[in-house]
């Protein structure tokens, strides 16, 4: 069960609770997010609650809602890929993210939840790699993952799905500058 709040790069990842479900469903059903999902039907309120009741006690997948300056802007999650393993034990995790708040969809802040979550997993869990499965048509997600250091390792379903892998070293090497820019905290003025 996810009770871990993660903070970093100006955002806070708050474990999802029942009270977040209406907002999550609203985001999840928005056309631009829905079209990127593998299961892209419209989610009913009942389906949302069934899903939440299934995952709320899970140790093999954790979900957070992302808070920035006191407002919720998106959602992020991790899932263990190793059979029977918890997220903390699995050497490989699959990660997901969507930004629901329109203002931050095309914004460098969209990297912050991922950086906070990946740092936490690499530091606190036994995570060695992250894996991502992305629709080949989702160029924004592919580009985003590449900026984090992901490499495409295979294609599935006649090229319609890419499987991407991120090692710790590739992550560290690819995100140094991003982390520096998203970690400045003191207002400065020079000259």
């Amino acid at each position: 069960m996810n009770t871990t709040t993660v903070t970093g790069y100006q955002v806070t990842l708050v474990p999802i609770t029942l009270e977040h479900q209406a907002l999550l469903r609203q985001w999840r059903n928005s056309p631009d997010i829905k079209q990127c999902m593998f299961s892209n039907g419209t989610i009913s309120e009942a389906q949302q609650l069934t899903w939440f009741n299934r995952i709320k006690g899970c140790e093999n997948e954790w979900h957070w809602i992302v808070s920035y300056k006191g407002a919720f802007i998106g959602s992020t999650n991790i899932k263990a890929t190793a059979e029977g393993a918890s997220v903390s034990e699995s050497p490989e995790l699959e990660a997901g993210l969507y930004i629901g708040e329109g203002r931050y969809k095309n914004n460098i802040l969209a990297f912050a939840p991922t950086l906070a979550m990946y740092d936490y997993c690499f530091e606190q869990f036994q995570t060695q790699n992250f894996k991502a499965r992305v629709k080949a048509t989702n160029s924004a997600a592919i580009h985003y993952n590449q900026k984090l250091g992901y490499k495409t390792i295979r294609t599935e379903e006649q090229g319609s799905v890419l499987e991407m892998l991120l090692t710790f070293n590739d992550y560290q090497n690819s995100t140094k500058m991003l982390k520096q820019f998203l970690s400045r905290s003191v207002k400065n003025k020079r000259g």
């Binding site: 460098i108 998203l182 207002k187 400065n188 003025k189 020079r190």
Partner: protein
Amino acid sequence: MENKEKLIKAFTESLGIEPQLVTDELTYNTIPQWDSTAHMVLIAELENVFDVMLDTDDIIDLSSVAQAKIILQKYDDSIEFA
């Protein structure tokens, strides 16, 4: 060099685009050249050219040419882009 010219030069050199593309409406991630990597190069160039150091909130908010002008003026009210 006028501030407006400095701003356009910073955008064209950081993003590798033609000067006529640098309008107030140009927004982060709406052209392939203005991605996250170019955004960081752009921030560094703006800081260097205008001699300011932006805090993270402003790096996040600087998502268009129009926003760049507003943010730079916040750091130094003598900067004008007329």
